[in-house]
Structures are given as structure tokens and as C-alpha cells.
């Protein structure tokens, strides 16, 4: 990732293989969060300055503990929430998604890059499961997400016309 070294906290038994294949440098199992923080601090020699949490406030708080408190500012990005208290020298970030749709220059740069990545097959895209019933099946599909029974893949809802559409030409 642009010469960054990545240390990923995940369910290693389940996702370790695919994340290693994807190029993660270090994997840490998520089962013991305090131990995960200790491992991150040890491996990075206390020099971690960037952290991204995709889960929620509690795990973002754990990442905050692992960030460096000295020198340059450290940066914590939370996709699912951020800890209430800011640690010294740590800046909190939420993704300013509005810039994607409000500012054409930003959106266009991301979409043309995405096209290039897909063409060059440089993007690891998620596994998907197709649901049935089109729009009408979305309630049931969302129930499965709600119950947490879907892991490691995304649900995609083909609308009922999709086969017809694909035969137009």
C-alpha cells in the first residue's frame, strides 16, 4: 500500500490466509484486544502514527492506545465510531464522504482510478452472495445481516430484470 507497512487485527483463523495473500505484513488475532495492542506497539517500536478502525468505538479505542504519543501527531480514522476521549497527540478523523459527491474533481479522480484498477485487476473485490426476490427480497436479506450470520462476504441483490437486461445486445 504505497510503501506503507500494514498490521491487521482480525480473526486470523478465518481471514489470515486471504489477508496474507493480499499482502498484509503482520496479522494479529483480535481475540485478546490488550495483547493485540501490545503486539502492535512492540512490532512498530512505539512508532505507530496511523490507524484505521472499521468496527466501532471500542476497537477504535484500542487502536488509540497503540498509537505513538510523541513527536509528530498520530492519526486515528474511525469508520464505525471513535473513542469519546482523545489521547494526547492523537487526532481523530471521520471520513469526509461528502467530498466524493460534492466536489467533482475528487469524485472523478476516484472513479477513473477505480476503472483503471478494475481493468488492471489490481483490486481485491469482496466475495458476494446473490439474494433472491429483487427489491422485495431486501428485507429478508437485511435480516441476515442484522443477525450477523453473513461473514466474509457481501450480499448483492439482482433486480428481477437483470437477466433480460444483459441480453439486450
Amino acid at each position: 500500500m504505497a510503501d506503507l507497512r500494514t498490521i491487521c487485527v482480525v480473526d486470523v483463523a478465518r481471514y489470515g490466509e486471504s489477508l496474507m495473500a493480499a499482502g498484509a505484513d503482520i496479522l494479529v488475532d483480535r481475540i485478546d484486544p490488550d495483547r493485540a495492542v501490545a503486539i502492535i506497539q512492540g512490532v512498530t517500536r512505539g512508532q505507530l502514527r496511523f490507524a484505521l478502525d472499521t468496527v466501532g468505538r471500542d476497537t477504535a479505542g484500542k487502536l488509540q492506545e497503540a498509537l505513538s504519543r510523541t513527536g509528530n501527531k498520530s492519526h486515528l480514522v474511525g469508520l464505525g465510531g471513535l473513542p469519546k476521549a482523545k489521547a494526547e497527540n492523537v487526532l481523530h478523523h471521520q471520513v469526509p464522504l461528502k467530498a466524493f459527491h460534492d466536489v467533482p474533481k475528487i469524485g472523478e479522480s476516484l472513479m477513473t482510478w477505480l476503472e483503471k484498477l478494475l481493468l488492471a485487476k489490481r483490486l481485491i473485490t469482496p466475495q458476494v452472495e446473490h439474494t433472491i426476490g429483487g427489491l422485495n427480497g431486501i428485507n429478508r436479506a437485511l435480516d441476515r445481516l442484522r443477525k450477523g450470520t453473513i461473514t466474509g462476504k457481501r450480499l448483492v441483490v439482482p433486480l428481477q430484470n437483470h437477466t433480460m437486461l444483459r441480453q439486450v445486445i
Binding site: M1, T6, K73, H93, K105, L114, L165
Partner: protein
């Protein structure tokens, strides 16, 4: 011997060189894909199920850069159930949700440079305040700058699960952390979002994100080769090229 017209030979040449999926060549061909009404999924109250509703209007384009997309597939995100359950992301009621979609462009202004009628696109719908752009309906308004064409060798249905995760990851790293993607050698042409954002009129950014975009990370603090980043979770949305 059958001779191709100029238009037919142009289309043939294009189909041989265009690496993206196209389902039609022009508006005449997409006319058959247009209806006078559509069905949508409406949420009437937080905590309730979505209700399939017939005979709704087709969303209208209001600007040259807006396109009309006939939805082929919708990608589901956790926010699609969390929003209704915890009562957020609902600017009015009833409302339409849905943030990820792939579809075929059925209307587009001729002046657009990249997207044309007939293109199959994936369109991350981050603008949840604009009901025309929500994915849980048969026709969606998107914009050229929020749509990516789907390569011919990439599964269209799978492309519906790519957009929001990609945009979120790219902006988290490129804007919040200041990571420069432009140093990547393959493919060339990746953006340096940090630099790009500073070339834009600051007023273009909404007041509540301006500081994050323009002052979140300082030039001197941007990641350098060999720096570490720790990532917690994200097993199902590694659609960022970060590991590429």
C-alpha cells in the same frame, strides 16, 4: 455483399476496442429500458420494514452532469439496516435507502466526457440526503463523477458491492491520513487526494468537512515509506487497492 454504414462501422470498431461493458449504443436502444413509473422500497418509520411500493415516479436529472441509471443490482451495506433500526440517515419520511448499485446508463448528456448512454456503471451513492440517488429503486440518478464503468471481463453483479467500500477506504487513507496513491506504478494515474483537495476552491467543501479535508493532516505528517498503519477489522471490505 453487406456494407456497414458509417455509424455501424464506428460501433463495430468501438466494440472491439472498448474494454468496458456496454449494453446499448444510443438512446434509441435504451428507450426500451425506460418505463413511465417504477417500484421502490420505502421506509415509513424507523424500526419498520421497507415496503415495496408500485407506480412511483422516475427520478429526474437536474443538471448536465447527472445521469439516469436503470439498476441491475444493489449491494447491501450494514447501514441499510442500522439506519432504520437506530433512526439515522433518514432526512424525511417516507424515504428510500440503499448505497451501492450497478446498472446501465439510460440517459446522459452528450457533453459528458467519460460516461455515455449504454455504459454499465457502478455508482456509489454516498449522497443519502438526495432521494433520487438511493439504490432501492429501479431507476437512480447518479453523476458522471460518482460512476465508474465496469470492465467487460468483470462480473456486473459483483461490481454492485465495490463502490462505497472503495470510496470509503480510499478517502480514509488518502484524505484523512494523507497517503499518496500517485506513487503506485501499476496502474499509473492514481490520485494524490491530499494535493488534489488543495487545488479546489475551499468553499466547494461543505463547512462541516472543510477542516478534515484541508487541515486534518499536515504536509509534514504525511506517511513516509516504511511507516506503519494498523487496521482493525475490515475483513469483508478489502476493496481498497492497499494490498495490491
Amino acid at each position: 455483399m453487406e456494407v456497414l454504414t458509417d455509424e455501424e462501422s464506428r460501433q463495430l470498431m468501438e466494440s472491439m476496442t472498448n474494454p468496458f461493458t456496454r449494453l446499448a449504443h444510443n438512446e434509441k436502444e435504451t428507450a426500451g429500458l425506460l418505463n413511465s413509473s417504477q417500484q421502490v422500497l420505502l421506509i415509513h418509520r424507523p424500526g419498520e420494514e421497507y415496503k415495496l411500493t408500485q407506480n412511483q415516479g422516475i427520478p429526474e436529472q437536474k443538471a448536465e452532469h447527472e445521469i439516469l441509471v436503470k439498476v441491475i443490482a444493489v449491494g447491501l451495506n450494514p447501514v441499510d439496516w442500522k439506519g432504520p433500526d437506530y433512526n439515522f440517515g433518514l432526512p424525511a419520511l417516507p424515504w428510500i435507502n440503499g448505497r451501492d448499485l450497478a446498472g446501465v446508463v439510460v440517459k446522459a448528456h452528450k457533453n459528458l466526457r467519460r460516461i455515455r448512454v449504454g455504459d454499465v456503471v457502478l455508482s456509489p451513492s454516498t449522497d443519502y440526503r438526495d432521494i433520487r440517488k438511493a439504490a432501492f429503486q429501479e431507476y437512480v440518478v447518479s453523476t458522471e463523477h460518482n460512476s465508474a464503468r465496469v470492465p467487460a471481463d468483470f462480473d456486473v453483479l459483483s461490481s454492485a458491492a465495490v463502490g462505497v467500500a472503495f470510496v470509503t477506504a480510499a478517502m480514509a487513507l488518502g484524505i484523512c491520513c494523507g497517503l499518496n496513491f500517485a506513487v503506485a506504478k501499476e496502474p499509473r494515474g492514481a490520485p494524490d487526494l491530499f494535493r488534489l483537495a488543495r487545488e479546489v476552491d475551499p468553499q466547494a467543501f461543505a463547512a462541516d468537512i472543510r477542516d478534515e479535508v484541508l487541515d486534518g493532516v499536515k504536509e509534514s505528517e504525511r506517511p513516509k515509506p516504511g511507516d506503519w498503519i494498523a487496521i482493525w477489522g475490515g475483513e469483508i471490505s478489502p476493496s481498497e487497492p492497499c494490498y495490491g
